[in-house]
């Protein structure tokens, strides 16, 4: 094995700066990594079990509690699946409000990850608290952007974490246009913040490495995908959200409380900002593409370390979209669509900040949930994370022990794993045979 230091074992018992609990176990043989396990020891919470017997109307609020970082993604997926069962569609106005709040959640979640959790890796720091001393403007911008995103959720949903304003069919009350206006008061400054954050990220020293991988995300028709779309990947396949389970396989691993998903042919795939970016680049706001291209970035990005770029690009895009959606918003006559309860089954996929979130429900003619299956993005990414560590193996093993450990952690953090969702943190052990 190469490297200044000879080591036979590396342990990171708990990965930091991720949402939840897990570890990584890497086996080295003949100077090469030949086996990787991402173990998830975040305790299981059994949502699919206790949803049974509850009212279909409760699904959005209950499943929101799977994740405190992206609760709205759950609210949206559950609402849309139930609306499909009942045969109703939320009004255009309700959809605009959903998108404004959901984009607010992308900003809150993305900035949390790229500034607070991920940027320290590229700047050689332990935390945002250390970054704050050296790059005060960056940290100020990050906090301001998050506050603004959170404010969008709060105005529409009542509070940023586990908002209460949304329901199957639309919203619980009509949101007045004037309520949204405070978001536009300093909008020019907010846009500048979004742009500065992206430029900061584009200047970070990011490891150069690239290889073939499968990306899968929703694909938008006229707009960048967030609430809906067809599922697409870079192998040229496209299929409706209803066929998700037919195109994927799921396995339970002894070492993990999270289920692992792969494509039907056994290949791992990546879902999340990098996938969305690569498959929907043309739908990003022109202002965002201008900044990217000025710095020489074009899709496809084939380097998972560049996921931080996709996240910052989507953040700027989300800011611009919120502005547009507020301008276009017209108050509806009623807050939500009502429907007769009927038995049925349906699936829905939305783009959570971390990627595709799949919900499937079956309900009785009284509206009781009989069956629920929820596939969070991080569960879909575990197989890709393991494969990714195998592929960057040479780069990892060239480093002395402590650096190798950090690089494995960074590799996992590229996926912004939300372990709370996928069970749903990370322990690293490298053992040489």
């Amino acid at each position: 094995m190469s490297g200044k230091e000879d080591y036979s074992e590396i342990k990171v018992e708990q990965l930091a700066r991720v949402e939840g609990e897990g570890g990584v176990w890497v086996k080295v043989k003949d100077g090469k990594i030949d086996y990787v396990e991402v173990n998830i020891f975040e305790p299981p919470r059994f949502f699919e079990a206790f949803l049974k017997g509850r009212s279909y109307l409760e699904a959005p609020d209950l499943t929101a509690r799977i994740c405190g970082i992206c609760p709205l993604a759950y609210v949206m997926a559950a609402s849309r699946a139930m609306e499909k069962i009942l045969g109703i569609k939320a009004s255009d106005a309700a959809n605009k409000l959903r998108k404004i709040a959901f984009y607010g959640e992308w900003i809150e979640s993305h900035v949390l990850h790229f500034a607070f959790l991920h940027a320290p890796d590229f700047l050689g720091k332990h935390s945002i608290f250390e970054i704050a001393k050296e790059y005060p403007q960056f940290v100020k911008d990050a906090i301001a952007a998050r506050n603004w995103g959170n404010r969008a959720i709060e105005i529409i949903g009542g509070r940023p974490v586990h908002p209460v304003g949304f329901r199957v069919g639309g919203l619980h009350r009509i949101i007045r246009k004037r309520e949204l206006e405070p978001l536009l008061r300093n909008f020019d400054e907010v846009k500048k913040i979004g742009k500065r954050l992206l430029e900061f990220v584009l200047k970070l020293p990011i490891p150069e490495i690239s290889y073939d991988m499968v990306f899968m995300s929703l694909k938008g028709e006229k707009e960048y995908p967030i609430l809906e779309g067809v599922v697409a990947n870079n192998l040229g396949e496209e299929f409706p959200e209803d066929e998700f389970e037919e195109h994927t396989i799921v396995e339970q691993k002894r070492y993990s409380n999270a289920l692992h998903y792969r494509l039907k042919n056994g290949k791992p795939y990546i879902t999340g900002p990098l996938a969305r970016f690569n498959l929907n680049y043309e739908l990003l706001s022109p202002e965002v593409r201008d900044v990217l291209e000025e710095f020489g970035f074009k899709p496809p990005l084939r380097n998972t370390y560049q996921s931080i770029i996709a996240r910052a690009a989507e953040t700027y895009h989300a800011i611009l979209e919120i502005g547009r959606l507020i301008e276009e918003y017209r108050e509806p006559n009623r807050a939500y669509e009502e429907a007769e309860v009927k038995a049925g089954e349906a699936m829905a996929i939305v783009e959570a900040p971390r990627g595709m979130l799949y919900h499937r429900y079956r309900i009785s003619d009284e509206g009781k949930i009989l069956y629920a299956n929820i596939v969070p993005p991080t569960a879909q990414n575990y197989a890709a994370m393991e494969e990714d560590i195998l592929k960057v193996g040479d780069l990892i093993l060239k480093q002395p022990k402590e650096k190798a450990q950090k690089l494995v952690e960074t590799t996992i953090r590229n996926y912004d794993p939300c372990i709370s969702c996928s069970v749903h943190m990370i322990r690293l052990k490298i053992i040489e045979e």
Binding site: R17, P44, R45, I69, S127, I143, Q252, L259, M425
Partner: protein, 260 residues
């Protein structure tokens, strides 16, 4: 205080939860950075990879105890911390995941996992105070960040922590909301639930579903009778009341007798 330059050494731990309450800490944003003048964040794994060992002055715990590992961890936290605060309804009451406490655990495991025998979890999801002495408890799903901030400030100046624990109805009245039970016949948990959220749900013209946990001396029996008068069956009534803080002592006692 025992931290660098006499700062308060703070630790934040996560057990079984959604990370939303830690999120509330991060959401303090600039106020959190200001706090750093007086507080040393010694352990906060979600925010920093620089995890320092105890002892700590203040430990904030998010999440319920639902695995054998967590049971050991909370005991260890208690031994290493002067003040322990349970943050949010998972740590304080067992959380939404305690809804499984009302079901047969083997069935629960089988519903989600093909090989339930691989899953290591305690039969019930329980509050931290079932295992160790908790000095202060803040409910909420999520916990209110201003309540969190005020808790930290009160610890910093060394006074006894005080939060109002009146019913949500009081908060709702002060806000000037129209009562959803009276005006819409909508079942609302407000009369038995503690204030803290700003009476959000009734402000959206919907009934409270109980994020913040029971108020002092709640009367769930009386509320159940009111729900029945609104036309809910006993089963529907029980389901409404058995929600996010179903494993809190008063709610649990009520449900055990009501459903018998």
């Amino acid at each position: 205080m025992s931290g660098e330059n006499g700062k308060v050494r703070l630790a934040v731990f996560k057990l079984t939860s959604c990370s939303g309450c830690q999120q509330q800490i991060v959401d303090l944003g600039e106020q959190l950075l200001t706090l750093l003048d007086r507080v040393e964040v010694a352990y906060f794994l979600e925010a920093s990879s620089d995890a320092k060992p105890g002892p700590y002055d203040v430990a904030l715990i998010e999440g319920s105890v639902s695995t054998p590992h967590e049971e050991k961890l909370v005991k260890n936290i208690r031994e290493n911390s002067k003040i322990v605060v349970s943050v949010g309804s998972c740590a304080t009451y067992g959380g939404i995941q305690a809804l499984r406490n009302w079901m047969k655990f083997e069935e629960v495991k089988k519903t989600v996992y093909e090989k339930p025998e691989w899953v290591e979890a305690l039969e019930k999801s329980r509050p931290v105070s079932d295992f160790i002495k908790v000095d202060y408890a803040i409910g909420g799903c999520p916990a209110n960040k201003l309540q969190l901030l005020s808790t930290l400030k009160q610890i910093l100046i060394g006074r006894r922590i005080y939060h109002r624990e009146e019913s949500l109805c009081q908060e709702c009245k002060r806000k000037g909301n129209v009562c959803v039970v009276v005006a819409k016949g909508e079942p609302c948990l407000g009369p038995i639930i503690k204030e803290g959220c700003g009476a959000l749900c009734p402000s959206y013209r919907r009934g409270c579903y109980g994020c913040f946990g029971p108020m002092i001396d709640p009367k769930p029996n009386a509320l159940a009778r009111r729900f029945e008068d609104l036309g809910l069956s006993r089963e529907e009534t029980a389901l409404r009341i058995r929600n996010i803080t179903s494993w809190s002592e008063p709610v649990r006692r009520f449900l055990e007798s009501y459903e018998r």
